[in-house]
Subunit: 197 residues, 2 copies
DNA sequence: GCAGGATGTCTAGCGTTGCTAGAATTCGCT
DNA sequence: AGCGAATTCTAGCAACGCTAGACATCCTGC
Protein backbone atom coordinates (compact mmCIF):
# COMPACT_ATOMS: atom_id res chain seq x y z
CA UNK A 1 0.00 0.00 0.00
CA UNK A 2 2.76 2.39 -0.83
CA UNK A 3 4.20 3.84 -4.02
CA UNK A 4 2.16 1.53 -6.12
CA UNK A 5 -1.19 2.52 -4.72
CA UNK A 6 -0.12 6.09 -4.62
CA UNK A 7 0.42 5.99 -8.34
CA UNK A 8 -2.97 4.42 -8.78
CA UNK A 9 -4.59 7.09 -6.74
CA UNK A 10 -2.78 9.71 -8.77
CA UNK A 11 -4.00 8.15 -11.98
CA UNK A 12 -7.45 8.00 -10.58
CA UNK A 13 -7.42 11.67 -9.71
CA UNK A 14 -6.12 12.44 -13.15
CA UNK A 15 -8.93 10.50 -14.74
CA UNK A 16 -11.38 12.26 -12.46
CA UNK A 17 -10.32 15.61 -13.83
CA UNK A 18 -10.24 14.19 -17.32
CA UNK A 19 -13.91 13.34 -17.07
CA UNK A 20 -14.75 16.82 -15.87
CA UNK A 21 -12.88 18.60 -18.62
CA UNK A 22 -14.22 16.22 -21.25
CA UNK A 23 -17.76 16.91 -20.10
CA UNK A 24 -17.09 20.61 -20.17
CA UNK A 25 -15.56 20.59 -23.62
CA UNK A 26 -18.38 18.50 -24.98
CA UNK A 27 -20.91 20.86 -23.46
CA UNK A 28 -19.14 23.95 -24.72
CA UNK A 29 -18.92 22.69 -28.28
CA UNK A 30 -22.23 20.88 -28.65
CA UNK A 31 -24.35 21.89 -25.68
CA UNK A 32 -25.32 19.97 -22.59
CA UNK A 33 -27.99 17.94 -24.34
CA UNK A 34 -25.14 16.29 -26.28
CA UNK A 35 -23.39 15.28 -23.09
CA UNK A 36 -24.60 11.74 -22.57
CA UNK A 37 -22.87 9.19 -20.41
CA UNK A 38 -22.08 7.12 -23.48
CA UNK A 39 -20.51 9.90 -25.46
CA UNK A 40 -18.63 11.07 -22.41
CA UNK A 41 -17.29 7.58 -21.77
CA UNK A 42 -16.24 7.40 -25.40
CA UNK A 43 -14.43 10.68 -25.08
CA UNK A 44 -12.39 9.65 -22.08
CA UNK A 45 -11.82 6.24 -23.68
CA UNK A 46 -13.34 4.25 -20.88
CA UNK A 47 -16.61 2.43 -20.54
CA UNK A 48 -19.67 3.96 -18.95
CA UNK A 49 -19.42 2.35 -15.52
CA UNK A 50 -16.12 4.05 -14.71
CA UNK A 51 -17.99 7.34 -14.72
CA UNK A 52 -20.09 5.99 -11.91
CA UNK A 53 -17.04 4.96 -9.92
CA UNK A 54 -16.07 8.63 -9.90
CA UNK A 55 -19.43 10.37 -9.68
CA UNK A 56 -22.80 9.47 -8.25
CA UNK A 57 -24.47 10.21 -11.56
CA UNK A 58 -24.67 12.64 -14.39
CA UNK A 59 -25.83 15.48 -12.16
CA UNK A 60 -22.70 15.08 -10.07
CA UNK A 61 -20.56 15.48 -13.18
CA UNK A 62 -22.43 18.60 -14.16
CA UNK A 63 -22.01 19.93 -10.65
CA UNK A 64 -18.28 19.29 -10.79
CA UNK A 65 -18.07 21.32 -13.98
CA UNK A 66 -20.14 24.01 -12.33
CA UNK A 67 -17.78 24.13 -9.37
CA UNK A 68 -14.86 24.74 -11.70
CA UNK A 69 -16.94 27.45 -13.30
CA UNK A 70 -17.51 29.19 -9.99
CA UNK A 71 -13.81 29.23 -9.39
CA UNK A 72 -13.20 30.85 -12.72
CA UNK A 73 -16.02 33.30 -12.31
CA UNK A 74 -14.68 34.38 -8.94
CA UNK A 75 -11.24 35.20 -10.33
CA UNK A 76 -12.82 36.79 -13.40
CA UNK A 77 -14.88 39.11 -11.22
CA UNK A 78 -12.05 39.87 -8.86
CA UNK A 79 -9.71 40.81 -11.69
CA UNK A 80 -12.33 43.11 -13.15
CA UNK A 81 -13.01 44.75 -9.83
CA UNK A 82 -9.38 45.27 -8.97
CA UNK A 83 -8.56 46.59 -12.42
CA UNK A 84 -11.23 49.24 -12.09
CA UNK A 85 -9.82 52.77 -11.66
CA UNK A 86 -11.72 53.25 -8.44
CA UNK A 87 -14.53 51.98 -6.25
CA UNK A 88 -16.99 54.03 -8.22
CA UNK A 89 -16.17 52.07 -11.34
CA UNK A 90 -15.84 48.72 -9.63
CA UNK A 91 -19.55 48.10 -9.65
CA UNK A 92 -19.81 48.65 -13.37
CA UNK A 93 -16.72 46.58 -14.08
CA UNK A 94 -18.03 43.64 -12.11
CA UNK A 95 -21.43 43.80 -13.77
CA UNK A 96 -19.90 43.87 -17.20
CA UNK A 97 -17.52 41.05 -16.33
CA UNK A 98 -20.40 38.95 -15.08
CA UNK A 99 -22.47 39.35 -18.20
CA UNK A 100 -19.42 38.76 -20.36
CA UNK A 101 -18.78 35.53 -18.56
CA UNK A 102 -22.36 34.41 -19.06
CA UNK A 103 -22.42 35.12 -22.78
CA UNK A 104 -18.93 33.85 -23.55
CA UNK A 105 -19.25 30.57 -21.68
CA UNK A 106 -22.94 29.76 -21.99
CA UNK A 107 -22.52 26.06 -21.30
CA UNK A 108 -20.52 26.68 -18.19
CA UNK A 109 -23.03 29.26 -17.04
CA UNK A 110 -25.85 26.82 -17.59
CA UNK A 111 -24.15 24.22 -15.44
CA UNK A 112 -23.70 26.78 -12.70
CA UNK A 113 -27.13 28.38 -12.66
CA UNK A 114 -29.70 26.55 -14.70
CA UNK A 115 -29.15 22.81 -14.75
CA UNK A 116 -30.11 20.79 -11.69
CA UNK A 117 -27.18 20.92 -9.34
CA UNK A 118 -25.98 19.12 -6.27
CA UNK A 119 -24.06 22.11 -5.02
CA UNK A 120 -25.22 23.66 -1.77
CA UNK A 121 -25.66 27.40 -1.84
CA UNK A 122 -26.06 29.83 1.00
CA UNK A 123 -25.34 27.30 3.68
CA UNK A 124 -22.60 26.26 6.08
CA UNK A 125 -21.07 23.75 3.67
CA UNK A 126 -21.17 26.03 0.65
CA UNK A 127 -17.97 25.44 -1.34
CA UNK A 128 -15.43 28.23 -1.19
CA UNK A 129 -15.62 29.24 -4.87
CA UNK A 130 -19.34 29.94 -4.60
CA UNK A 131 -18.76 32.02 -1.55
CA UNK A 132 -15.95 33.84 -3.31
CA UNK A 133 -18.28 34.79 -6.16
CA UNK A 134 -20.83 36.16 -3.79
CA UNK A 135 -18.16 38.05 -1.89
CA UNK A 136 -17.13 39.78 -5.08
CA UNK A 137 -20.59 41.23 -5.36
CA UNK A 138 -20.54 42.23 -1.72
CA UNK A 139 -17.23 43.99 -2.24
CA UNK A 140 -18.82 46.23 -4.82
CA UNK A 141 -20.51 48.10 -2.00
CA UNK A 142 -18.75 50.09 0.69
CA UNK A 143 -18.40 48.47 4.12
CA UNK A 144 -20.33 51.39 5.53
CA UNK A 145 -23.42 49.99 3.88
CA UNK A 146 -24.93 47.79 6.54
CA UNK A 147 -26.95 45.91 3.99
CA UNK A 148 -24.21 45.02 1.57
CA UNK A 149 -25.26 41.38 1.47
CA UNK A 150 -28.78 42.32 0.53
CA UNK A 151 -27.49 44.63 -2.16
CA UNK A 152 -25.26 41.83 -3.44
CA UNK A 153 -28.14 39.35 -3.55
CA UNK A 154 -30.38 41.65 -5.51
CA UNK A 155 -27.64 42.80 -7.85
CA UNK A 156 -26.65 39.21 -8.53
CA UNK A 157 -30.25 38.29 -9.13
CA UNK A 158 -30.69 41.16 -11.54
CA UNK A 159 -27.59 40.25 -13.49
CA UNK A 160 -28.60 36.63 -13.61
CA UNK A 161 -32.05 37.53 -14.82
CA UNK A 162 -30.68 39.74 -17.55
CA UNK A 163 -28.16 37.11 -18.57
CA UNK A 164 -30.63 34.27 -18.80
CA UNK A 165 -33.48 36.22 -20.37
CA UNK A 166 -31.26 37.57 -23.11
CA UNK A 167 -29.52 34.25 -23.67
CA UNK A 168 -32.84 32.53 -24.24
CA UNK A 169 -34.09 35.38 -26.41
CA UNK A 170 -36.76 36.46 -23.94
CA UNK A 171 -35.40 39.96 -24.09
CA UNK A 172 -33.47 41.27 -27.10
CA UNK A 173 -29.80 40.24 -26.96
CA UNK A 174 -28.78 43.73 -27.99
CA UNK A 175 -28.70 46.58 -25.55
CA UNK A 176 -26.85 44.85 -22.75
CA UNK A 177 -24.67 47.88 -22.25
CA UNK A 178 -27.66 50.08 -21.60
CA UNK A 179 -29.02 47.61 -19.11
CA UNK A 180 -25.72 47.61 -17.27
CA UNK A 181 -25.82 51.38 -17.29
CA UNK A 182 -29.23 51.48 -15.77
CA UNK A 183 -28.44 48.84 -13.21
CA UNK A 184 -25.24 50.53 -12.15
CA UNK A 185 -26.75 53.98 -11.79
CA UNK A 186 -29.61 52.48 -9.78
CA UNK A 187 -27.38 50.50 -7.48
CA UNK A 188 -24.54 52.92 -7.05
CA UNK A 189 -24.65 53.55 -3.35
CA UNK A 190 -26.43 56.69 -2.32
CA UNK A 191 -24.33 59.07 -0.17
CA UNK A 192 -25.95 57.77 2.98
CA UNK A 193 -27.34 54.30 2.55
CA UNK A 194 -31.06 54.40 3.30
CA UNK A 195 -31.07 52.90 6.75
CA UNK A 196 -34.00 51.01 8.15
CA UNK A 197 -36.02 53.36 10.38
CA UNK B 1 -68.72 19.05 -43.95
CA UNK B 2 -71.33 20.64 -41.76
CA UNK B 3 -72.72 19.97 -38.29
CA UNK B 4 -71.02 16.66 -38.11
CA UNK B 5 -67.54 17.88 -38.74
CA UNK B 6 -68.21 20.91 -36.59
CA UNK B 7 -68.88 18.66 -33.67
CA UNK B 8 -65.70 16.75 -34.41
CA UNK B 9 -63.73 19.91 -34.50
CA UNK B 10 -65.30 20.98 -31.23
CA UNK B 11 -64.39 17.69 -29.64
CA UNK B 12 -60.92 18.02 -30.99
CA UNK B 13 -60.51 21.47 -29.54
CA UNK B 14 -61.82 20.20 -26.24
CA UNK B 15 -59.29 17.41 -26.21
CA UNK B 16 -56.58 19.87 -27.13
CA UNK B 17 -57.28 21.87 -24.01
CA UNK B 18 -57.63 18.69 -22.00
CA UNK B 19 -54.07 17.75 -22.86
CA UNK B 20 -52.80 21.15 -21.84
CA UNK B 21 -54.55 21.18 -18.50
CA UNK B 22 -53.56 17.59 -17.81
CA UNK B 23 -49.92 18.41 -18.50
CA UNK B 24 -50.17 21.42 -16.25
CA UNK B 25 -51.80 19.54 -13.40
CA UNK B 26 -49.27 16.76 -13.63
CA UNK B 27 -46.44 19.27 -13.60
CA UNK B 28 -47.90 21.20 -10.68
CA UNK B 29 -48.36 18.12 -8.54
CA UNK B 30 -45.29 16.09 -9.44
CA UNK B 31 -42.96 18.41 -11.33
CA UNK B 32 -42.13 18.56 -15.01
CA UNK B 33 -39.76 15.63 -14.90
CA UNK B 34 -42.82 13.48 -14.17
CA UNK B 35 -44.60 14.75 -17.27
CA UNK B 36 -43.80 12.07 -19.82
CA UNK B 37 -45.75 11.47 -22.98
CA UNK B 38 -46.85 8.08 -21.66
CA UNK B 39 -48.15 9.37 -18.35
CA UNK B 40 -49.80 12.29 -20.06
CA UNK B 41 -51.49 10.01 -22.57
CA UNK B 42 -52.67 7.83 -19.68
CA UNK B 43 -54.08 10.85 -17.94
CA UNK B 44 -56.15 12.03 -20.87
CA UNK B 45 -57.17 8.43 -21.56
CA UNK B 46 -55.80 8.30 -25.07
CA UNK B 47 -52.76 6.67 -26.54
CA UNK B 48 -49.49 8.48 -27.06
CA UNK B 49 -49.84 9.22 -30.78
CA UNK B 50 -52.88 11.43 -30.29
CA UNK B 51 -50.66 13.86 -28.44
CA UNK B 52 -48.63 14.18 -31.59
CA UNK B 53 -51.72 14.87 -33.67
CA UNK B 54 -52.28 17.94 -31.52
CA UNK B 55 -48.73 19.08 -30.85
CA UNK B 56 -45.44 18.80 -32.66
CA UNK B 57 -43.80 17.29 -29.63
CA UNK B 58 -43.39 17.56 -25.92
CA UNK B 59 -41.84 21.02 -26.12
CA UNK B 60 -44.93 22.27 -27.91
CA UNK B 61 -47.10 21.00 -25.06
CA UNK B 62 -44.91 22.74 -22.51
CA UNK B 63 -45.08 25.88 -24.57
CA UNK B 64 -48.86 25.72 -24.67
CA UNK B 65 -48.93 25.49 -20.89
CA UNK B 66 -46.52 28.41 -20.75
CA UNK B 67 -48.76 30.47 -22.98
CA UNK B 68 -51.67 29.94 -20.62
CA UNK B 69 -49.35 30.94 -17.83
CA UNK B 70 -48.48 34.21 -19.51
CA UNK B 71 -52.14 35.01 -19.84
CA UNK B 72 -52.68 34.42 -16.16
CA UNK B 73 -49.58 36.31 -15.17
CA UNK B 74 -50.69 39.31 -17.21
CA UNK B 75 -54.06 39.53 -15.47
CA UNK B 76 -52.41 38.84 -12.12
CA UNK B 77 -50.03 41.74 -12.61
CA UNK B 78 -52.68 44.06 -13.96
CA UNK B 79 -54.98 43.40 -11.02
CA UNK B 80 -52.18 44.09 -8.60
CA UNK B 81 -51.21 47.27 -10.36
CA UNK B 82 -54.74 48.59 -10.59
CA UNK B 83 -55.52 47.72 -6.99
CA UNK B 84 -52.55 49.75 -5.80
CA UNK B 85 -53.55 52.97 -4.05
CA UNK B 86 -51.51 55.06 -6.45
CA UNK B 87 -48.80 55.00 -9.05
CA UNK B 88 -46.19 55.23 -6.35
CA UNK B 89 -47.33 51.92 -4.94
CA UNK B 90 -47.96 50.28 -8.29
CA UNK B 91 -44.34 49.34 -8.77
CA UNK B 92 -44.14 47.60 -5.45
CA UNK B 93 -47.46 45.85 -5.98
CA UNK B 94 -46.43 44.49 -9.34
CA UNK B 95 -43.09 43.27 -8.04
CA UNK B 96 -44.73 41.50 -5.17
CA UNK B 97 -47.35 40.01 -7.43
CA UNK B 98 -44.69 38.74 -9.79
CA UNK B 99 -42.70 36.99 -7.09
CA UNK B 100 -45.87 35.59 -5.58
CA UNK B 101 -46.81 34.13 -8.91
CA UNK B 102 -43.39 32.54 -9.29
CA UNK B 103 -43.40 30.93 -5.87
CA UNK B 104 -47.01 29.84 -5.86
CA UNK B 105 -46.98 28.28 -9.32
CA UNK B 106 -43.41 27.05 -9.67
CA UNK B 107 -44.21 24.53 -12.38
CA UNK B 108 -46.04 27.07 -14.47
CA UNK B 109 -43.24 29.54 -13.98
CA UNK B 110 -40.70 26.95 -15.09
CA UNK B 111 -42.61 26.30 -18.27
CA UNK B 112 -42.68 30.01 -18.98
CA UNK B 113 -39.10 30.93 -18.20
CA UNK B 114 -36.82 27.99 -17.73
CA UNK B 115 -37.79 25.02 -19.86
CA UNK B 116 -36.97 25.07 -23.57
CA UNK B 117 -39.80 26.89 -25.26
CA UNK B 118 -41.09 27.37 -28.76
CA UNK B 119 -42.62 30.72 -27.95
CA UNK B 120 -41.18 33.73 -29.69
CA UNK B 121 -40.30 36.62 -27.47
CA UNK B 122 -39.54 40.21 -28.36
CA UNK B 123 -40.48 39.83 -31.99
CA UNK B 124 -43.20 40.71 -34.43
CA UNK B 125 -45.09 37.46 -33.90
CA UNK B 126 -44.83 37.51 -30.13
CA UNK B 127 -48.15 36.23 -28.74
CA UNK B 128 -50.35 38.83 -27.13
CA UNK B 129 -50.19 37.47 -23.57
CA UNK B 130 -46.40 37.76 -23.53
CA UNK B 131 -46.65 41.30 -24.73
CA UNK B 132 -49.28 42.04 -22.13
CA UNK B 133 -46.97 40.87 -19.37
CA UNK B 134 -44.19 43.08 -20.58
CA UNK B 135 -46.57 45.99 -20.88
CA UNK B 136 -47.51 45.63 -17.26
CA UNK B 137 -43.93 46.24 -16.33
CA UNK B 138 -43.74 49.18 -18.67
CA UNK B 139 -46.86 50.65 -17.09
CA UNK B 140 -45.11 50.76 -13.75
CA UNK B 141 -43.12 53.70 -15.01
CA UNK B 142 -44.56 57.09 -15.95
CA UNK B 143 -44.96 57.82 -19.66
CA UNK B 144 -42.68 60.80 -19.17
CA UNK B 145 -39.83 58.38 -18.74
CA UNK B 146 -38.49 57.98 -22.25
CA UNK B 147 -36.75 54.77 -21.37
CA UNK B 148 -39.67 52.93 -19.85
CA UNK B 149 -39.02 49.87 -21.93
CA UNK B 150 -35.44 49.66 -20.75
CA UNK B 151 -36.58 50.07 -17.17
CA UNK B 152 -39.13 47.35 -17.69
CA UNK B 153 -36.58 44.96 -19.16
CA UNK B 154 -34.15 45.40 -16.32
CA UNK B 155 -36.82 45.25 -13.66
CA UNK B 156 -38.24 42.10 -15.19
CA UNK B 157 -34.78 40.61 -15.36
CA UNK B 158 -34.10 41.44 -11.75
CA UNK B 159 -37.35 39.92 -10.59
CA UNK B 160 -36.77 36.83 -12.66
CA UNK B 161 -33.27 36.44 -11.27
CA UNK B 162 -34.48 36.78 -7.71
CA UNK B 163 -37.31 34.36 -8.34
CA UNK B 164 -35.20 31.66 -9.89
CA UNK B 165 -32.22 31.97 -7.59
CA UNK B 166 -34.36 31.71 -4.51
CA UNK B 167 -36.49 28.92 -5.94
CA UNK B 168 -33.39 26.84 -6.61
CA UNK B 169 -31.91 27.68 -3.23
CA UNK B 170 -29.06 29.70 -4.67
CA UNK B 171 -30.03 32.60 -2.45
CA UNK B 172 -31.93 32.08 0.81
CA UNK B 173 -35.67 31.77 0.22
CA UNK B 174 -36.32 34.05 3.15
CA UNK B 175 -36.01 37.79 2.85
CA UNK B 176 -37.92 38.25 -0.36
CA UNK B 177 -39.72 41.21 1.08
CA UNK B 178 -36.48 43.04 1.74
CA UNK B 179 -35.32 42.35 -1.78
CA UNK B 180 -38.53 43.80 -3.14
CA UNK B 181 -38.03 46.81 -0.92
CA UNK B 182 -34.56 47.39 -2.21
CA UNK B 183 -35.55 46.86 -5.81
CA UNK B 184 -38.51 49.22 -5.55
CA UNK B 185 -36.61 52.01 -3.87
CA UNK B 186 -33.88 51.68 -6.48
CA UNK B 187 -36.22 51.68 -9.42
CA UNK B 188 -38.75 54.19 -8.26
CA UNK B 189 -38.43 56.85 -10.86
CA UNK B 190 -36.30 59.79 -9.96
CA UNK B 191 -38.05 63.19 -10.30
CA UNK B 192 -36.45 63.79 -13.67
CA UNK B 193 -35.45 60.61 -15.38
CA UNK B 194 -31.75 60.78 -16.11
CA UNK B 195 -31.84 61.54 -19.79
CA UNK B 196 -29.12 60.56 -22.20
CA UNK B 197 -26.87 63.57 -22.80
C1' DG C 1 -79.51 -1.49 -45.74
C1' DC C 2 -75.02 -1.91 -47.18
C1' DA C 3 -70.33 -1.82 -49.46
C1' DG C 4 -66.45 1.68 -49.99
C1' DG C 5 -63.50 5.07 -48.57
C1' DA C 6 -61.74 8.35 -45.57
C1' DT C 7 -60.82 9.53 -40.83
C1' DG C 8 -59.25 8.65 -36.66
C1' DT C 9 -56.98 5.69 -33.06
C1' DC C 10 -54.12 2.11 -31.24
C1' DT C 11 -50.55 -1.50 -31.00
C1' DA C 12 -45.99 -2.27 -31.44
C1' DG C 13 -41.51 -0.91 -31.93
C1' DC C 14 -37.18 2.06 -32.95
C1' DG C 15 -33.35 4.38 -31.19
C1' DT C 16 -31.62 6.71 -27.16
C1' DT C 17 -31.29 7.87 -22.34
C1' DG C 18 -29.25 7.13 -17.24
C1' DC C 19 -27.76 3.57 -14.63
C1' DT C 20 -26.21 -1.24 -12.85
C1' DA C 21 -25.31 -6.36 -12.04
C1' DG C 22 -22.20 -9.74 -12.85
C1' DA C 23 -18.66 -11.65 -15.92
C1' DA C 24 -14.04 -11.01 -17.39
C1' DT C 25 -9.69 -9.19 -17.14
C1' DT C 26 -5.75 -7.23 -15.28
C1' DC C 27 -2.34 -6.63 -11.89
C1' DG C 28 0.47 -6.78 -7.64
C1' DC C 29 2.05 -9.91 -4.23
C1' DT C 30 3.75 -14.12 -2.03
C1' DA D 1 3.83 -19.51 -11.11
C1' DG D 2 -0.30 -18.86 -9.35
C1' DC D 3 -3.47 -16.79 -6.02
C1' DG D 4 -6.49 -12.90 -4.54
C1' DA D 5 -8.13 -8.57 -5.00
C1' DA D 6 -9.03 -4.60 -7.39
C1' DT D 7 -10.58 -2.77 -11.61
C1' DT D 8 -12.81 -2.57 -16.02
C1' DC D 9 -16.00 -4.20 -19.47
C1' DT D 10 -19.98 -6.55 -21.61
C1' DA D 11 -24.63 -6.82 -21.55
C1' DG D 12 -28.87 -5.46 -20.17
C1' DC D 13 -32.95 -2.97 -17.64
C1' DA D 14 -36.53 0.28 -17.49
C1' DA D 15 -37.97 4.54 -19.22
C1' DC D 16 -37.75 8.25 -22.55
C1' DG D 17 -39.60 10.88 -27.08
C1' DC D 18 -41.42 9.74 -31.18
C1' DT D 19 -43.44 7.12 -35.38
C1' DA D 20 -44.92 3.56 -38.92
C1' DG D 21 -48.33 0.70 -40.08
C1' DA D 22 -52.22 -2.20 -38.65
C1' DC D 23 -56.81 -1.69 -36.96
C1' DA D 24 -61.26 0.18 -36.03
C1' DT D 25 -64.72 3.58 -36.69
C1' DC D 26 -67.75 6.40 -38.89
C1' DC D 27 -69.74 9.11 -42.83
C1' DT D 28 -71.06 8.83 -47.63
C1' DG D 29 -73.29 7.23 -52.05
C1' DC D 30 -75.80 3.71 -53.97
Amino acid sequence: MSAISERRERERAHRHQLIITAARELAETEGWEAVTTRRLADRVEYSQPVLYSHFNGKDAIVSAVALDGFGELATHLRRARQAAPGPAHALRAVCRAYLDFATERPALYQAMFILPTELTFASAETPAPLRACFDEFVSCFPPANERRELFAEVLWGALHGIAVLSESGRIPPAGQEERIDLLVTRFADSPASPGTP
